[in-house]
């Protein structure tokens, strides 16, 4: 199992938006999915997850709604909104740019 890495600032927003693009999820579900898709590189605890979710909700990019799990427990499910979708697209493009630029820099230095 790979060791957890530090998240770059701003990447958690992008990560969450991307994960919610597929389906609405509750807090634990989002944390699990992040663990799963990054193969354990990023481990996100509730202390980072919830502030980020609420910030995204305040900006109107995600929306929370109470629902029920199979176990019957109630949890808040977050879903991507319209503005959230366009924000995700914007951030994806931005990320590509950053990535390309960074890769170039790092490749040149080799």
């Amino acid at each position: 199992m790979p060791t957890p890495a530090d998240l770059l600032p701003g990447t958690l927003d992008l990560l969450i938006l991307r994960i919610l693009e597929l389906q609405p999820l509750h807090g634990v579900g989002i944390a699990d999915r992040i663990d799963q898709v990054t193969h354990g590189v990023f481990v996100v605890g509730p202390g980072s997850l919830f502030p980020c979710l609420h910030r995204l909700a305040e900006k109107g990019w995600v929306e929370g709604e109470w629902g029920e799990l199979e176990s019957g427990r109630r949890a808040k499910f977050y879903a991507l909104t319209g503005p959230g979708r366009s924000q995700l697209a914007k951030e994806k493009r931005n990320w590509q740019k950053v990535l390309t630029a960074m890769n170039q820099v790092l490749a040149d230095g080799r």
Partner: protein, 914 residues
Amino acid sequence: MPWTTRIANTCRRWLHGERTERELDAEVQSYFAIVTERLMAGGLSREEAMRSARLELEGPEQVKEKVRQARMGFTIETAARDIRYAWRTLRGNSGFTAVAVLTLGLGIGANCAIFSLINAVMLRALPVEHPEELVLLTDPSESGVAMETTEHGIRRNLSYREFQELRLHNTVFSGLLAAQNDVSDVDVLPEGGSDSQTLRAHVQLVSGEFFHVLGVKPIIGRLFTPEEDRVPGANPVAVISYGYWQQMFAGNPSIVGTTVRVGGGVFRIVGVAPPGFKGILVGSDADFWFPITMQQQVLPGRNYLEPIDTLWLQVMGRLGPGMSLKRAEAGINVTFQQALRVWSAALPTERQRRLMREERIQLRPGNHGPSALRGEFADPLVLMMGAVGAVLLIACANIANLMLARATARQREIGIRLALGAARGRLIRQLLTESFLVAALGGTLGILLSIAGTHLLLALVSTGFDNLGLDVPRDSHVLVFTVAISLVTLLLFGLAPAIRGTRLDINRTLAANTRGTIGSRTDVRSGRLLVIAQVALSLVLVVGAALFVRSLSNLLAQALGYDRDHLLMVKLDPAAAGYKGPAAIALYERVREQLGGVPGVNSVTLSNTGLFDGDSGDHVSVEGSPVNDPEQLDSQWTEIGADYFRTLGIPLLRGREVNPSDMAQGAQVCVVNESFLHKFFAGMDAIGRHVTDMYPTTRETFEIVGVVADSKEHRPNEKRYPRFYSNIAHPIGTVKSVTYLLDTARNPATVVSAVRESLRKLDRNLTILSLRTVNQQIDRRLITQRVVADLGGFFAFVALFMAAIGLYGVMSYSMTRRTNEIGIRMALGASGRGVRRMVLGETLWMVAIGIAAGLPCAFAVARLISSRLYGLATIDPLSITAAISVVLISGVLAGYVPAYRASRIDPMLSLRHD
């Protein structure tokens, strides 16, 4: 601006704080429950699972706190963004911003200044322990010494003897205190100082319990003890105020134990009162306090302590726990009546005995302390508050109009933003942020202006008072008031335009042209309504001011019955320089001769009171008069010296006046006025008859030697009243101070220094208490009326000016909107003059509606203030007509420029433009 964001945050938390907090809690709980359940499914027990969840993750409380912080950061960020945006818009529109902020600042500043004074005079509690427990046994508005006087019914002042009785037999108060009901202006010579180091100070005599009952603690040394006012003359001690100690003794702590020479005694300073405590008389700060029993030493001359009818004290008590005002009043009156029964036995007539026994003490809440100033200024201040309130409303209407016009001008911008999906609430918030900034700037400017304004007001008022020392603190009352009115103005001028501005039909707005047709008719209509309200309000203010100005000029124009312009008054205190009895009477003529020798002085006389400075009246008996109803037998009196009527220029109708030989012999002669002759002799000859002044303790009889015309010597609105002028060389009772009246050939002010010099030559110890022309003295008596008239006039002018600006603004705006309508009219043959008349007509129509709406209010206000007006009918036609004309003229002036501009529109240009 961190405080603006803090306010914004607090508002948000109020709006939806609690629900969010509950939701957050449920959400975090649910997260931890899910994690715990999963761990339990992996084989852990519930406790182990919970512990491990907490160890692995952060605690739920930390998580919630982090969320709160994140959210707060977001709010701060948007609020800050709104403010930055608003600031940019305001700066980009600096003309609008300057006008709005300045208007608002003036309005808020005036309100704040008047309110600061109301707060200082009427609202502030004394800076003592539990002021709410204090009650007054005397009338808080009384001041000065009333000597050999009887007050019937509810008592206003108390004598020291009465206070002693109340204190001795007190069962209802946890403590009683007495204080001189004024401060005295005296010379104070610090220990080891030479004569040139004499200081002037305001001193107050107080009972020994004074500080203790108030709960005031010294910052150095000690304050008085109750034992210090038991034996007259036995306790030469003094307490100094913190302010005076700082100012005159540089706060030197070694002052305690040193001595000061005051009046006829040397006093050891035993302590310094705490900062902020300036005595109990609001408006008359004390620098030194002395024990009441030291009266003869501090204020030499008359004995105030012995007589039961020298009324000069304010008495306060502290209610014990559980004692009600009513029970205390009943209790203290039992004590008071017992004393009165004993004293009344010594009175000569049954009527006097009955009147004395019927005297009562009324308790009043004492938390604000006594204040002569309050009685004088409470009503005018409330009146002025109303006036400045109206000015602020007018200012708000102006800003609201500007905002409306701006919102209309920005409709395109707002329409585009709405079309792009901006939330309406967000836009309203942004527009409100702009208004908020304007209100905040206006409020800040207002506070600055109010500081200057308060000083100005105090300076205006203080010319009418000898010992005005009013502390005008900027305390929490004033702060809350300022913030509150700033917020109210914000709602008044900010909310409606913001809501209206964002309620748009997007398609229409975007489809419309940029010029000409934007802005619905309702915008102009609401602007016009605002202007009509402004005109109405300003009419009310102008009418009010006109009434006060007319009343004052009536008072000033009163024919007094003599020529006042050439008269100078010099008030002297012979008793303080050691002249008593026959020595004082001998001095009167010497001073008269001395002053008669000053170049530019035609003639000199003297009286006990001078003009417009206190008056006396008493029961009399008149020999040979058909009037014998005891209720009718009273007259005013003045003690005069030789040449009184010649100097003043009051016509002598019959007989002669008091002359120098009467003075020399102390002859028992007097002169009566016409009213006296009519009342007591029905026009018969009175020369040779006798008048007896009936005092409770003394009687003096005078032979009438002359009759003079009636005159007004003490109040400009004095009624004709019987008066006799007796020879001052045969005094009624004891004469305290005397006032010389000088008839000067030139302007009386030019001989002032020569008069001072000449008196110094005669006796350098002779104190000049005051030196004024009669006109200055009249001005002092009329200071309240003058200030009310001046301020009323000023505020009315400001109101009218703002209303005119409002009128101008609305008409100009409406003209730009109607450019092509007017263009068409002119193209169809309307003349420039016709257009001018049309536009001016519209303006005057609004003014007329405003006047019609304002008149009933103006009448109501006139009725409300009628008791303060002199020589005017309730509805004074001249004031009303003048006010209406002034408002109409302002309307014409305001409407002329837009009308002129409209008439210069080039029809071709304006039509092509669209």
